[in-house]
């Protein structure tokens, strides 16, 4: 198992990018590229990462890089891989880095198609729980209660009224070789999952919690702490679905959710009823995780 210290010193996502201070997505990109290395082609949809990785003629990625559009990451990565195969370069890793909006919402059709065809790609969803690039609008992956610019805190309604879409479960339903969730606060677990994804063949999906201090209205020094608390409160599950087997990566402490939401301005309007709703959601989520572990054992 590779630890953080054992990762290569060299970066393939280098400094000079223009991500906000404390950007979880940039941390995900840096770690992931240390795992995938030089022999990689990356795909970016329209996203924060497309913008902060570089504006022509500069780019922070030191590997070949393609951007086509927003909703087609999975199929574009598949097209790259198929072409590389025909060029006799089947050993090249093809990795799509897409945000939650580009995955859970507008990109889910292409995601489902590529998963169904078991395209030989790695799809990384860096989940910052809203359309951050366009200015913090709600996505299907935004959690219940969160303020965004399209779920404003008004006198009649305040925050998102719906619950977070369970994209990993949707991908699991395609019975692909590998699905995992990760958090940048648990780098050893994250690196292990990235390495597995790198080694395996077929469609591989990793959804990584990537806190966004700008959109979450949080202190820029608290990114890792938030990514940790999301796991420890039970809001974010760490698991692996590998060749049909579901394994929990970590049993959380179920620490009080108040601490996690209290660090984020996007939740500051929450009422005690809202908090109770979130706690109930966590409870039901973990009942479901237990069922999944029984079904896919």
């Amino acid at each position: 198992m590779t630890t953080v210290k054992e990762l290569p010193v060299q970066d393939w996502f280098t400094s000079g990018h223009t991500a906000c201070p404390g950007c979880g997505g940039a941390i995900v990109a840096r770690i992931a590229m240390k795992v995938f290395g030089q022999n990689t082609v990356v795909y970016h949809p329209a996203s924060c990462m497309l913008i902060f990785s570089g504006t022509y003629p500069l780019n922070a990625f030191k590997v070949p890089y393609l951007h086509v559009l927003f909703e087609n990451s999975a199929v574009c990565a598949s097209g790259i891989k198929r072409a590389l195969k025909r060029l006799g370069k089947d050993d090249v890793n093809v990795v799509a880095f897409a945000g939650d909006g580009g995955t859970a919402d507008i990109g889910i059709q292409a995601l489902s198609g590529a998963a169904e065809r078991n395209e030989d790609i790695v799809y990384i969803m860096y989940d910052n729980e809203a359309y951050m690039n366009t200015g913090i609008q709600r996505s299907g992956s935004t959690p219940f209660g969160a303020w965004t610019t399209t779920t404003p805190v008004g006198s009649v309604k305040a925050g998102k009224m719906e619950f977070k879409k369970d994209v990993p479960a949707i991908v699991m339903a395609h019975n692909v070789p590998y699905v995992a969730t990760a958090s940048l606060a648990y780098p050893t677990d994250l690196i292990k999952k990235l390495e597995k994804a790198k080694t395996k063949k077929g469609f591989r999906y990793i959804q990584i919690l990537a806190p966004c201090p700008t959109g979450w209205k949080a202190d820029t020094s608290k990114t890792v702490e938030l990514a940790k608390l999301a796991v420890e409160t039970g809001l974010w599950t760490l698991f692996e679905f590998e060749d049909g087997k579901y394994t929990l990566s970590r049993t959380p402490k179920f620490s009080p959710v108040e601490e996690y939401v209290g660090m984020q301005g996007r939740f500051k309007h929450l009422t005690p009823d809202n908090i109770a709703t979130i706690k109930e959601w966590i409870k039901k989520k973990w009942e479901r995780e237990k069922q999944l572990a029984l079904v896919y054992k």
């Binding site: 030089q38 022999n39 990689t40 082609v41 795909y43 497309l50 913008i51 570089g54 504006t55 022509y56 003629p57 780019n59 990625f61 030191k62 590997v63 070949p64 890089y65 393609l66 951007h67 086509v68 559009l69 909703e71 087609n72 199929v75 574009c76 990565a77 598949s78 097209g79 790259i80 198929r82 072409a83 590389l84 195969k85 025909r86 060029l87 370069k89 090249v92 059709q109 292409a110 489902s112 198609g113 169904e116 065809r117």
Partner: protein, 400 residues
């Protein structure tokens, strides 16, 4: 006049088969497609070619036309020749991706089976699917028969892979009239096609970890205007390249399609009608009828819509007293797209009457009588007697 030296096997096939066989002969390394009537035979035949071992390529049966073009863009950007085909709503769904294919200078070739776009929903021939794509940076040409479909798929690759062009191209064929109708077609000899169309080896865009390149970078205003200019220059260069490829193809395979336009009995014509697509075949017969009656009419076949054959049409206009332009599509509030373009091309060049004719929309038959009505109107116009600048032919309750 076309001269045919039969060299390949001649078979009775549909336009869709010709489009699929054109793909087989062109050896793309990736085909991505989504079925839509009346393009379905194309993807079915390609699936058969692959499953029978006649065609060796990646085949991506994707979940939408948007994904079909996305897969082609990604694979072509990686460095291989790609192919897809679509029609109507599928092309409309692709619309967003078409700009990217052109903007990244990816020479993708795509037959489009021209079908009406909803609403009302219909499956028959109309050009209102491809015409609205005219500003995407794709070359566009319209075929008259099934042989031209096959020949043009191969010529299209030859044109767009030329380093002076490097833009994508649509090869358009009329729904059912070509797509589902059988005609004798020479299936070209593979070795001769290989000699005509060498493998695709891009120098400008590829994704190779040994030589990293960003394709599709986010660009500020400091660069985008120059990128637009380059695309326009590529499109302008395509005029010359299309002409060269027409000649090379004629030398090798014996069929000369004329270039951006073709003409029929124009040598001494007093008036001309310009048509595109399958109506051209009907119009050839009508020209013969009119000529038999002593009326000196001629026909211009509009082959390429992008780039638009401005110079060629100006030269035609210098020789006639009136010109009619037939369209199977309408730009609402203005007129038929090729009529609009023709008037634009001729502005300041000539003051002859240029009449627009709309017929066959939604797949309605365009009969020899309809075409005769068009020629009579143009003849009247040459004597200063026309009533309408734009006429709806064969429309209930509307006088042409």
């Amino acid at each position: 006049m076309m001269q045919t030296k039969v060299q390949g096997e001649k078979k009775i096939v549909t336009g869709d088969y010709a489009a699929a066989y054109g793909a087989l002969l062109s050896r793309p390394k990736l085909v991505a497609a989504y079925p839509i009537t009346p393009q379905t035979f194309i993807v079915e035949h390609i699936s058969e070619f692959i499953n029978d071992g006649k065609m060796d390529c990646e085949y991506m049966p994707v979940e939408s036309e948007h994904s079909a073009m996305s897969a082609c863009i990604a694979a072509q950007a990686t460095g291989v020749r790609t192919y897809t085909a679509t029609s109507s709503q599928g092309l409309a769904l692709m619309h967003e991706t078409l700009f990217v294919a052109a903007g990244l200078h990816l020479p993708i070739v795509m037959p489009v089976v021209n079908r009406t776009v909803a609403a009302p929903i219909g499956i028959w021939c109309e050009h209102n699917d491809t015409m609205p794509q005219r500003d995407t940076g794709w070359l566009q040409m319209y075929c008259e028969d099934n042989q031209e479909v096959l020949d043009m798929v191969i010529q299209a690759y030859k044109i767009v892979e030329d380093e002076r062009v490097l833009l994508p191209m649509m090869v358009n064929l009329d729904a059912f009239i070509l797509s589902h109708t059988v005609e004798p077609v020479e299936l070209l000899d593979q070795a001769k096609v290989d000699a005509f169309l060498p493998p695709y080896k891009p120098k400008h865009a590829y994704l190779d970890p040994d030589d990293p390149m960003v394709v599709g970078s986010f660009a500020p205003p400091e660069y985008i205007q120059e990128a637009r200019y380059q695309t326009e220059m590529s499109m302008q260069s395509a005029r010359e390249v299309a002409g060269e490829v027409t000649e090379k193809f004629a030398d090798k395979f014996g069929r000369d399609y004329g270039g951006l336009i073709d003409t029929y009995r124009m040598e001494d014509a007093d008036v001309a009608l310009m048509t595109l697509g399958t109506v051209t075949g009907t119009a050839r017969d009508v020209v013969d009828q009119f000529r038999a009656n002593g009326k000196k009419v001629g026909l211009v076949k509009l082959r390429f819509f992008r780039p638009f054959p401005t110079q060629e049409i100006c030269q035609i206009a210098e020789r006639v007293k009136a010109l009619g332009v037939y369209d199977r599509a309408i730009s609402f509030g203005s007129g038929g797209p090729s009529w609009i373009e023709t008037r634009h091309a001729l502005y300041g060049h000539t003051d002859i009457p240029v009449l627009g004719f709309l017929a066959g929309l939604g797949g309605r038959d365009v009969t020899p009588e309809d075409v005769g009505t068009m020629f009579n109107s143009v003849l009247d116009a040459s004597k200063g007697q026309h009533r309408h600048t734009v006429s709806w032919i064969g429309t209930r309750g509307v006088q042409p």
